[in-house]
Symmetry: C2
Subunit: 600 residues, 2 copies
């Protein structure tokens, strides 16, 4: 394959021959300021020689490695840095295929990542993960797959998913290759703490295979059960929203991942664990978790996150460490990626301006120049998903307006109702108890409130539930429906008009997946044909369609930052406080995860 990455052991003779000058380098970069993330220094006047996909030599002078066919790139004093790594990322959140994700992020300097395909896993199980892994292997990215641990995220009694994964499936996935590197975020942390056999079994299978266990713990940093979770062998966690979250995890031996997704902005607070509290940074990582295609286009990817971290007062080389060597060390692959050192993969970026600007001018991945000045210069191979993946929305019947009526336990007056409150730029929600009016035995949802409903779409069970949400902001009749609804990815519908809600749901069902916003102005559809999660279109088209959804939401009054992403998580039954699944309202608290009734 064009971007194949052979193991170092196979490359050693050629690397040594190139380094000593007996075999010409394939590529050479001369005269740059090397961002040395191992020593924590910026070194002037440095050059790098590459043989095939790996770095053969790093030093002041690489002239002895240059032959007739060597491509020589003059860095002209620019920074030479290792390609950026995303230490926790769900590609499906971009709504792009892996190939289109690669096309989007390579020009931004991201050359590798640790991807948890737990969205497609909830739809197609192990088969879905395998398909994305195969697509990954064709890209120039140093891409590593994590095996989704929580499918379903919170147990079959809480929600219905398209598939389930247990210890045996986890063990099987590790046999696919060394690039299947870790157990994805173990969101069922109460299960781990209280000895759930499936969760401990998946962790044990992972440790037995010499792989790593990533966490997801959302109780407070000072909860006495965080060390219990750590005792299970969990060594990484991105659910850090405060400095204390970072500090307590690192103290317990975890790598703390600081997240700047599209809709959750945790870096500014979490980074103070270092900038204010002086924590050793070696186990602090920068990650994206979930970023939309629009965010990639308008803000960037890891380049944006590193720049943002520097803007919080982190020394530039330290911020680069948090997105390169720290990340590689967390997953035991620092011999292969994460630094510009002899033997490492030639994943290299050149940067203009000051280092703090993180202004990527050229990206080299696996020894190939793949992007320059923000544009891809390399072709990626096409990857085709099987037909089955393109027809994944199985409703028992299309919803009608009547499906959104909420019968009340009283005929009139008011009733104490559990309401999901959205918090902008945060993953968490709040649980409100509001006295809502009842008319003719039906709950009245109006004003700043909307209805929220989930329809099971994997097995055509006909399961559905309807609840109430605060903070959407619709100022006119509007509805949004989506087959992206973490983590079970059933059909999630939010709106203030039962008829529009039904039509929105019908639109995404008919399209075999997608996001539809319906208002008085019409319908905006973002088709997501691949598993109901990802667009079959190129990055630029998908980003434009995603932006159209955002604009339609905004125009209807939903001005939440990256509204779609925030809304798509309202069904995520593992993050506090109140959520909704196809089985009803779900409350997540320090006491555990439980179905609760709509009426308090």
């Amino acid at each position: 394959m064009k971007f194949a990455r052979k193991p170092l052991s196979d490359c050693v003779p050629a690397l040594v021959a190139t380094a000593r000058g007996d075999l010409p380098a394939t590529l050479v970069i001369t005269g740059g300021k090397l961002v040395n993330v191992v020593s924590g220094e910026i070194l002037e006047g440095m050059s790098v020689a590459v043989q095939g996909e790996r770095i053969a030599y790093v030093g002041k002078d690489v002239s002895h490695t240059i032959g007739e066919d060597t491509r020589v790139i003059d860095a002209a004093g620019r920074y030479i840095a290792p390609g950026l790594l995303d230490g926790h990322c769900h590609i499906e959140s971009t709504q792009l295929t892996v190939s289109e994700f690669a096309r989007a992020v390579l020009p931004l300097g991201t050359t590798g990542g640790f991807f948890d395909a737990h969205e497609i896993a909830n739809v197609f199980g192990l088969k879905g993960i395998r398909l994305m892994l195969e697509e990954m292997r064709g890209t120039p990215l140093a891409a590593y797959m994590q095996v989704a641990s929580c499918v379903p995220s919170a147990g079959p009694d809480i929600e219905t998913t398209g598939a389930s994964i247990g210890p045996e499936e986890v063990a099987e996935a590790y046999t696919w290759g060394e690039d299947v590197i870790a157990l994805g975020e173990v969101m069922n942390f109460p299960g781990v703490v209280y000895g759930d056999e499936k969760m401990l079994g998946e962790i044990q299978a992972t440790l037995r295979a010499g792989r790593y266990v990533d966490g997801h713990f959302t109780w407070p940093a000072d909860d006495w059960r965080l060390p219990v979770y750590a005792a299970a062998g969990v060594t990484g966690d991105h659910e850090c929203v405060t400095a204390e979250d970072v500090m307590e995890r690192v103290r317990l031996g975890m790598y703390a991942k600081m997240r700047r997704g599209s809709a959750w902005h945790d870096v500014a607070k979490t980074i103070t664990a270092h900038t204010e509290h002086g924590l050793d940074t070696r186990r602090m990582l920068l990650v994206t978790d979930d970023r939309s295609s629009e965010s990639l286009r308008d803000e960037g990817h890891m380049d944006f996150v590193v720049r943002h971290a520097i803007a919080q007062g982190v020394k530039p080389v330290t911020a680069f460490q948090m997105a390169t060597i720290n990340t590689a060390e967390r997953f035991g692959v620092a011999r292969d990626i994460g630094s510009i050192t002899p033997g490492s993969c030639a994943d290299i970026i050149l940067l203009d301006g000051n280092l703090a600007d993180v202004q990527v001018a050229m990206t080299i991945a696996a020894g190939v120049v793949v992007a320059e000045n923000g544009q891809m210069t390399a072709e990626l191979p096409a990857y085709t998903y099987p037909q089955e993946v393109l027809a994944s929305v199985h409703l028992r019947e299309l919803p009608t307006a009547a499906d959104f009526i909420i019968p009340a336990p009283v005929d009139s007056g008011t009733v104490a109702t559990r309401v999901i409150k959205v918090i902008e730029n945060h993953v968490d929600t709040e649980e409100l108890i509001l006295e809502l009016p009842v008319r003719e035995g039906r709950l009245v949802v109006e004003g700043t409130l909307s209805k929220i409903a989930v329809f099971e779409r994997h097995k055509a069970t006909g399961n559905k539930s309807v609840g109430v949400v605060e903070g959407i902001g619709f100022r006119e009749p509007a509805a949004i429906a989506m087959t992206v609804a973490h983590d079970s990815h059933n059909v999630l519908v939010i709106g203030n008009d039962d008829e529009l809600m039904a039509r929105a749901a019908g639109a995404v069902a008919t399209a075999q997946g997608g996001v539809a916003v319906l208002t008085g102005s019409g319908t905006v559809l973002f088709p997501l044909a691949i598993a109901g999660l990802m667009s079959a279109e190129p990055f630029e088209v998908a980003a434009a369609q995603s932006a159209a959804v955002s604009k339609a939401l905004y125009d209807a009054g939903c001005t939440l930052n990256y509204a779609f992403m925030t809304l798509s998580l309202l069904a995520l039954a593992v993050i506090p406080a109140l959520r909704i699944s196809d089985k009803g309202l779900v409350r997540i608290s320090a006491g555990g995860i439980e179905l609760v009734s709509l009426f308090a």
Copy 2:
């Protein structure tokens, strides 16, 4: 086995149950100042709960883990630190068996290490390594074996050893278990740089097995070939004697090991890479390499090295990192050892006084209290070496005085002679060219000079060579003979009296190994029956015998610091500048390793 260390995967259910309070801890330590090497902090009022051999809980309060049978240790405000790790150590250099080494270092706070049995490998090959590995596995130490890479160290044309190891043997050793963790120092660095098939084959076998390659590069830090060596996949090196040595290695992605052996004192200079040059410390390790039993008794082991590093101005917690987590990370075992975190092995030390004093009051290894107040409190299992290993000295015939005569190329006058110059406290020697007198066709070696001879002892080939050494210091007729003579461990004899030299050689041959010092005052013998390298006696007896050798040398005028260790390296044909083997004088320079004639 008593001190068995099961994999974490097997321990997870019990650890989690203990951590949440459902299964009583086996051991608990309460109320100490935790030396948290992950976060780089000292945390007050911390407690630790242990289940079997691993840590189940770390926090302010572990009362929920205490049951009727839990042993509770009140730290009473003392420091609680992870047990110290030696990142590069030859146990044979202590002249102790592994068990006696463990008895010596456990009370000093060393709970684990990365051991390169390349001395016994030169005598008995892979079988010797296997025997020491088996002995290791019975001790409380978290002991990892490195496979000796350079047996012989510099090729069969340069010296004769008892065995040889190549790529196939290296690959075989990794099948013995995950505790065979790395390829031992690749001293034939010119071979690596210039593409020697055997050396690259051993490295490739190591990388293929997912293990680590340790280096040994003695050309200057700014030699253009250091990056070539790094390109081969070498990621650790302890041959650092200057700050630049450390900095250049770390910049190239290596872990730089700073050594304080008995006779080489490299920490004070090398540590300035951090204290003066500000290098990131994560890839800086403290190691001992070679320490004698006397050094262990009189100075200490890693406790001494850490204390010494702190005395150079390193922050105490940073110095602890250099002997705990950094070391564990270098070998990919930070999930098991190197920090006090849930899931890690319960290798814990309590320290009195200030942290900078490194005053170890109690040592816990694999969850068992093994030492208190400098004394072992746990019994170690006995280990018996096979008879073959106890009869390893095979000379063709016992040397006589005539063997030490050096015929000159002239009958009288003087002749330009290559002389090995010893440098106190350093591994290096210098090459001197001196005009030495000749009488009756024989070289006259007198004054500050001594003769130095090597007799092959593995295969009874009868090979021998005689040379001249400066800097021994004998002020009276004296000779020392030894079967410890790195790395080939032939019989090395140094003296200024041919008759005494012959008798000294006879003494060690008759004893089937050892060190003998002969002077007018008599004979001092330190028997080393195990492979001619290690004493069959307890640590205390061996240290006393070792001290007697030192005293005899001192009394005879050889006042070099740790004279025996320095002398035993005069046959080490891979460290600059001039050495001696059974095949003649060996010169090691930036040009390579070559036999040279005695007369220049």
